[in-house]
């Protein structure tokens, strides 16, 4: 509908184009502007690629950190499952009492299995492993206690439940001391949490940086097209119409930048995987780095596109409306 001339209808209505056709044309024009902005990028391939690379590489760091945190989480989970409780039994217990206690513990509902390492066995093991063999011969008495290794049943292996079991077992008359080696696990968890929090903060900062970089690039694009924008406004283009190609440019930045993130993250993990395999082999572990899975790749891509769009949106909001024809 014309603003100034009530009797004059807007062109597209005047030529009697059906609502459906006009709806389709709206999308056709969107597609044209979308392809058009790609063509615009192709005219300055080096500059475009640089912006895309900045976007992609900025996201590579958080993506790689994410992969590392994800992998350490899975290590932590493995170790947590294997938690064992070590019971040091009183010295003065007789052989009979030790056997009874072992049986009784094994029957407890929280316990999956028990393994007794009696003092003789312990001494033999110690002699063999420590290298103090001959020095130990001088001992007249065996100083080691009987040790019972308790493996909690599935469901009692979380730190909290295992701790509860330790409390219960250490209350037993026969037990001198009960130890659940959770300390190092908790420390490890704390370090993982620290890395994760640091990675979140870093990711946030890098995302903001990406938005600013894209925004600034789009701002430069806008000011280099100042004259064109003025002409378009003079012939009746709305801000929304003028903005659209720039928004598509932001989307293209994100689209290609996201792919650069995949490639760079993949390359970085491939580079690290050798070192990780070395460490894992030294610990007799089958552990291997897991890269980004399909969903995570999708998230990275979506994030890159979103950041490109947000950056360009901020720029066009501010700068397109500021250009007025003179």
């Amino acid at each position: 509908m014309s603003v100034l001339f009530r009797s004059r209808q807007q062109g597209a209505q005047q030529v009697k184009i059906s609502g459906l056709r006009r709806f389709l044309m709206f999308w056709v024009h969107h597609a044209q502007q979308c392809i058009g902005s790609l063509g615009e990028l192709a005219r300055y391939p080096f500059a475009s690629l640089m912006t895309m690379a900045v976007l992609g590489l900025s996201l590579t760091l958080p993506a790689t950190l994410y992969v590392i945190v994800k992998n350490t989480d899975s290590i932590g989970a493995n170790w947590q499952q294997a938690s064992e409780i070590t019971l040091f039994l009183r010295q003065e217990l007789s052989q009979q009492e030790v056997q009874t206690f072992t049986k009784r513990t094994e029957l407890a509902e929280e316990v999956d299995s028990v393994r007794l390492i009696d003092k003789e066995q312990g001494l033999a093991e110690f002699r063999q492993r420590s290298g103090f063999g001959e020095a130990l011969d001088t001992l007249t008495d065996n100083p080691l206690p009987n040790v019972l290794i308790v493996v909690p049943r599935e469901g009692y292996r979380t730190p909290a439940a295992a701790e509860e079991l330790v409390r219960k077992l250490s209350a037993e008359r026969e037990v001198e001391q009960a130890r659940l080696d959770l300390g190092w696990l908790q420390r490890f968890q704390a370090i993982v949490n620290l890395v994760r929090d640091g990675f979140l903060a870093l990711a946030l900062l890098l995302c903001i940086a990406v938005v600013l970089i894209v925004g600034n690039t789009i701002r430069l694009n806008i000011s280099s097209k100042r004259d064109e924008i003025m002409v378009m406004k003079l012939v009746g283009a709305t801000d929304a119409y003028i903005q659209r190609p720039f928004l598509y440019t932001g989307i293209w930045y994100g689209l290609v930048g996201g792919i650069i993130t995949w490639l760079a993250t993949g390359a970085l993990l491939w580079w690290l995987s050798g070192a990780v395999r070395n460490i894992a082999d030294l610990y007799d572990s089958q552990f291997r780095l897991n890269g980004l899975n399909l969903t995570e790749m999708g998230v990275v891509w979506g994030l890159a596109i979103g950041l490109g769009l947000v950056g360009s949106y901020i720029a066009v909001r501010k700068h397109v409306s500021a250009i007025e024809p003179r």
């Binding site: 100034l4 807007q10 030529v15 006009r22 002409v231 378009m232 406004k233 012939v235 283009a237 801000d239």
Partner: protein
């Protein structure tokens, strides 16, 4: 069609471009606006095309007070006004076709419909054979005609021209004016700002004269000349 009521315009910095200007151009009328440079011709055109707002007074188009038109509506309102500039304001990196089709693309025409209209407009200005050319490949007069084709391609009821013959020789100038007469003949209101007094003298159209921001002759009262 165009009505100024006691319009004054002071630019930021204090320069008073228009002082109490009033005039009325009827629908379907063709008129010239003259005055030496700095007299306020461009300001009048800018007020009509909503590139500037009046400091005091009212500007009306077809009975609509332009003050009532919100910022968001300006783009739509400009689609009713064909504008032609001395420096053409063509997009140099687009073909003649793309330049002329620009207003249609903005309004959401289909390509087929736009092609039809662009060819009709270019035929009207005699540039049918230059569709695929870029503006740099054309002469000044041809570029101006591309600008005119762009201004009329969506058939606006009002045409504004700011020194359309400014850089052209007399023969080309009269050709351009003939185009405006053709559009006027089919009912389009035309307002042409020019300081080419020789051109006006040869034609018998209403002439409004500005001097130092005042309307010294609105072309209706003979004695003022």
């Amino acid at each position: 069609m165009i009505k100024f009521e006691q319009v004054s315009k002071v630019y930021p910095g204090g320069f008073q471009a228009l002082k109490n200007v009033s005039f009325h151009i009827e629908p379907g009328e063709m008129a010239f606006l003259t005055g030496h440079s700095g007299a306020g011709k461009s300001t009048v055109l800018k007020l009509i095309s909503m590139m500037e707002r009046p400091t005091a007074g009212r500007v009306m188009i077809n009975g609509h007070d332009l003050k009532r038109i919100e910022r968001k509506q300006i783009a739509y309102a400009r689609r009713d006004i064909g504008m032609i500039f001395q420096d053409h304001r063509l997009l140099m990196d687009r073909t003649v076709f793309d330049n002329v089709a620009l207003p249609l693309m903005i309004e959401g025409y289909s390509l087929a419909e736009a092609r039809k209209r662009v060819h009709a407009a270019l035929e009207k200005v005699g540039l049918s054979d230059k569709v695929r050319h870029y503006p740099q490949m054309l002469s000044g007069g041809e570029q101006q005609r591309v600008g005119i084709a762009r201004a009329v391609v969506n058939k606006p009821p009002l045409l504004l021209a700011d020194e359309p013959t400014g850089n052209l020789d007399p023969k080309l100038s009269s050709e351009i004016i003939k185009l405006f007469e053709d559009f006027n003949r089919v009912g389009v209101s035309v307002l042409i700002a020019t300081h080419d007094l020789g051109l006006i003298a040869r034609l018998r159209y209403r002439t409004l004269s500005l001097k130092d921001g005042r309307m010294i002759n609105d072309g209706l009262s003979e004695e003022a000349l």
